[in-house]
């Protein structure tokens, strides 16, 4: 028995466990539906309660001149002449059937529009998350077990990185790599080069957060009894580090990744705008500016779904990574 602590306990009552599991899944689904409803409702009213006329916003780009006939036509076309609660119920009804409605401003259905932009943001967010993990792990593993100075440097770097605002970091990276060195484009390109600066902008601050958490739990783990017992079993220092301590240290970072994904999506609003990248963040920003309620609700709904899926994924990941025995209690 090389790793007694990671062995799963033998299931005693398989059928009861299946039922428990089903209950857990149902609870989770109900929670997800509730979250989606709340998100849709809050977003709808938040955008609509700002004073102003969406019809004017639909027609009136800067410098345009709007005729009353055009305004009336637009109001009728989008149902804006209905009371607001009717519009809300209509919107909810459409959402329930999976129809995200039609954009006020973009002459397009929201569903295909948002799906078309989803890819760009997902690539950005997932790559950033991966890069942040690599950066954080590298720094954490380098600085632990290397004395107090290295630890101080590591944690100092992490604190600075975590505090960097996206827009500032983006500007510095553009000046450095695009204007000075001329090696990377400051705007999106059809190849991967355009992805480097946006990903760094999002990944560096996140790596700061993840790294802080990782180092702390890494240190705790290295001083824990199970590490002591592993050492006593004659495991090599490397084996202790990689197989036991790191695994332990990864747990809080994995749970944090669910939250991190959400923060990456919000960071995408800034990053996609600065680097002129197509994506949900930029769609959202434009839609908020012109009060395009269906698009705002659509983007927020899709982000909410992605967030829920990501939370489930981090749950699963921590179960796999968690070396401690599992019980069904509390699920």
């Amino acid at each position: 028995m090389a790793e007694p602590l990671t062995q799963r306990p033998t299931p005693i009552r398989p059928r009861a466990r299946t039922r428990d599991r089903l209950g857990a899944v149902l609870r989770r689904l109900a929670g997800a539906v509730f979250v989606l409803w709340a998100v849709a409702t809050l977003t709808f009213f938040a955008v609509r309660l700002i004073p102003g006329d969406p019809a004017q916003a639909i027609l009136g780009g800067p410098g345009s001149q709007t005729s009353p006939e055009a305004l009336a036509a637009v109001r009728a076309e989008y149902g804006l002449d209905q009371p607001i609660w009717v519009q809300y119920l209509q919107q909810l009804g459409r959402l329930a059937t999976g129809d995200l409605g039609r954009s006020y401003g973009l002459n397009q259905d929201v569903g295909p529009l948002v799906l078309a932009q989803l890819g760009g943001t997902l690539v950005l967010a997932v790559t950033s998350l991966a890069v942040a993990w690599v950066l954080a792990l590298t720094l954490a593993t380098w600085s632990t077990g290397r004395g107090r100075l290295a630890r101080r440097i590591g944690s100092g770097l992490e604190i600075v990185a975590a505090a960097l605002p996206h827009f500032w970091l983006a500007t510095v990276l553009i000046v450095l790599f695009s204007v000075w060195l001329g090696v990377l484009p400051p705007i999106s390109t059809s190849d991967a080069r355009g992805l480097v600066l946006p990903v760094l902008t999002l990944a560096v601050p996140l790596a700061g957060f993840l790294g802080q958490v990782m180092r702390e739990s890494l240190l705790t783990a290295l001083e824990s009894p199970f590490v002591l017992s592993a050492r006593a079993r004659g495991e090599s220092e490397r084996g202790v580090f990689w197989r036991h301590a790191l695994r332990h240290a990864a747990l809080p970072a994995i749970s944090l990744s669910g939250w991190a994904f959400g923060s990456l999506i919000s960071g995408a609003v800034v990053v996609e705008t600065i680097f002129a990248r197509p994506g949900l963040g930029r769609t959202l920003l434009t839609a908020v500016t012109v009060r395009d309620v269906p698009v705002v609700v659509g983007v927020v709904m899709v982000v909410a779904v992605a967030y829920i899926l990501m939370t489930i994924a981090t749950d699963v990941a921590s179960r796999i990574a968690d070396p401690r025995p599992r019980t069904e209690a509390g699920r």
């Binding site: 800067p62 009353p68 002459n107 400051p186 002129a276």
Partner: protein
């Protein structure tokens, strides 16, 4: 899609700049790049892709008949053309229409169309096509705002022959030709207009030197050369098809990224250039600055004369005298803009300036307010009359006013405070801003209005423009209600004699300026920067949109 930008972004010779010292961490470093060796070659070369980066919002429809704003005009100038154009002096010149005549009563205009012009879908440019365009613009279903208003006096059209189209007007319109020169009234293929609006918005079909090839939303509009092009405007530099193979039209909302992309060679031309960027670019050998003010109204603050406190001309004058505009413009616009004292843009030939009326004179402002009964000051230093503070509510649209303008308003706020005005600046998004105007909840406001010709005065200062339409929309924000101004503008809008027209508009402008209804600031700014390797780019004088028909890449 091949992206030549990849080839272009090889590191520029910046070694010198780096050696010069890391201390200068400014963007101005590209000034050290050397001119390309073949810069002396003036023979246009065909081929290549031009990448243009716009800071404007991406249009939601590429057909400028729908809605009708400046971002649409910028891009549609590449693939759509109008019946007439303007030359650099503002004179109307032929374009898709070869010639035109007007009846003595001014109610019938006949346009003879240019021979042998076809739309890029192969259909011919004929009288029926022009009729279809007028009908499209006047159809409420289209949702045209700018073009719709410009054709307000056109009662009907008729095909006299295949190549002659007659416009019948409900009243004479001295601004008809100027209106028709605008990109928002460009002529499109009748066959294409019959498609659904979604289809036409995605790829309008015109007669221009380029045609829309693809539009990937939030990324780029790609336009390719129209090889059968035959219809350059009278002032173009060559005949036949354009030199460029294609134009990639991108949207880079962030001002600093846009300039960085130009410096890095990823894009060839950028618009919406801010004053600080222009100042940086001035020191560069590889970047050219193009200053092309928009026509129509000047950039001005309109004082709401419809209610207190600006219903009193003395208070309006006091406010104008209390505002230090010249110093503000100089410091905030860094020499990129001149102070205006006209209601019209400096590119409008009929504009009248009154430099003496708008001098900064706090002593005169104090005297005017004392005379108007605003004699007391409260503990905050603001003037008070009958227990009411002298407050000026000033909603600012963050979508329409650039940061330097917003800072200028803050400087006005500061200098007006010394005289005792409390200027309440409120930064609002576009629809909230419209709502404040519709509710008459403002004392001062700055709203852009781009239109070719002095007829913009009628829209801005005729009392018809005060009554809010059912939508709440109106353009006479100063709420000028002067029968004499109304009469002058109405007559000027109908008269055909050019000299009499100019005199009427001059009288009207003087009355507006003398009435202190507006505080002119500067022209509506419209700055472009482009790489020196781009040759032959210019703006169409009508509304100052760039055209790349004569443009070629020298690299």
């Amino acid at each position: 899609m091949p992206r030549p930008g990849i080839v272009r972004s090889t590191p520029r010779p910046l070694t010198l700049a780096l050696a010069a010292g890391v201390t200068a961490l400014g963007l101005a470093l590209t000034g050290c790049t050397t001119a390309s060796p073949d810069a002396g070659d003036d023979t246009p070369k065909s081929g290549g892709t031009l990448t243009y980066a716009s800071g404007d919002a991406e249009p939601t429809c590429l057909d400028p008949h729908v809605g009708g704003n400046f971002p649409q005009a910028l891009v549609s100038s590449q693939y759509l053309e109008s019946l007439v154009s303007l030359d650099d002096e503002g004179t109307v010149i032929p374009w898709l229409a070869d010639s035109w005549t007007v009846s003595d009563d001014g109610l019938a205009w006949e346009f003879t169309l240019r021979d042998g012009v076809t739309f890029t879908d192969g259909t011919p440019l004929d009288a029926a096509a022009v009729q279809a365009n007028v009908a499209h613009l006047q159809d409420p279903e289209t949702g045209s705002s700018t073009g719709y208003l410009a054709l307000a006096k056109v009662a009907g059209t008729e095909a006299v022959s295949d190549s002659v189209v007659r416009f019948t007007l409900s009243e004479p319109d001295s601004a008809l030709l100027e209106s028709l020169s605008q990109p928002w009234l460009a002529i499109q293929s009748a066959t294409a207009l019959e498609r659904t609006q979604d289809e036409n918005c995605a790829a309008p079909v015109g007669t221009g030197p380029f045609k829309v090839d693809s539009w990937v939303k939030q990324n780029a509009i790609t336009m390719v050369r129209n090889d059968d092009y035959t219809s350059p405007p009278g002032d173009a530099g060559h005949a036949g098809p354009a030199y460029l193979d294609e134009i990639v039209w991108r949207f880079i909302p962030d001002s600093a990224s846009r300039y960085a992309a130009l410096q890095a060679g990823e894009v060839d031309m950028i618009d919406n250039v801010q004053p600080d960027t222009i100042a940086q670019a001035e020191s560069s050998d590889t970047i050219v600055h193009l200053d092309a003010p928009r026509p129509g109204a000047s950039n001005r603050i309109e004082l709401n004369s419809g209610k207190a406190p600006f219903d009193d001309i003395a208070v309006r004058e006091a406010f104008i005298r209390s505002a230090n505009i010249v110093d503000g413009v100089e410091s905030l616009f860094q020499g990129t803009a001149d102070r205006s004292t006209s209601a019209l843009s400096s590119v409008e030939p009929l504009g009248v300036s009154e430099p003496d009326l708008f001098d900064y004179d706090p002593d005169a402002a104090d005297a005017l307010l004392d005379g108007a009964g605003w004699t007391q000051r409260d503990s905050d230093g603001y003037r008070v009359k009958d227990g009411v503070r002298l407050s000026v509510v000033f909603p600012v649209s963050t979508n329409q006013s650039i940061p330097a303008e917003q800072s200028l308003y803050e400087q006005i706020q500061a200098t007006a405070k010394e005289t005792g005005f409390e200027v309440k600046l409120a930064k609002l998004d576009l629809s909230s801003w419209y709502a404040e105007l519709g509710a008459n909840a403002y004392d001062a406001v700055s709203a852009p209005y781009t239109k070719v010709g002095p007829d913009v005065l009628r829209i801005l200062f005729h009392s018809d423009g005060i009554t809010p339409a059912p939508s709440g929309y109106f353009a006479n924000h100063a709420q000028v209600n002067d029968p004499e101004i109304d009469a002058l503008l109405t007559e000027a809008g109908q008269i055909s004699d050019p000299e009499r027209r100019a005199a009427l508009y001059a009288d009207a402008q003087e009355r507006v300026l003398d009435g202190f209804y507006i505080l002119p600031l500067m022209d509506q700014q419209n700055h472009f920067l482009y790489a020196t390797s781009l040759e032959g780019a210019r703006v169409l004088p009508a509304v100052s949109t760039p055209t790349f028909y004569d443009a070629w890449l020298n690299r």
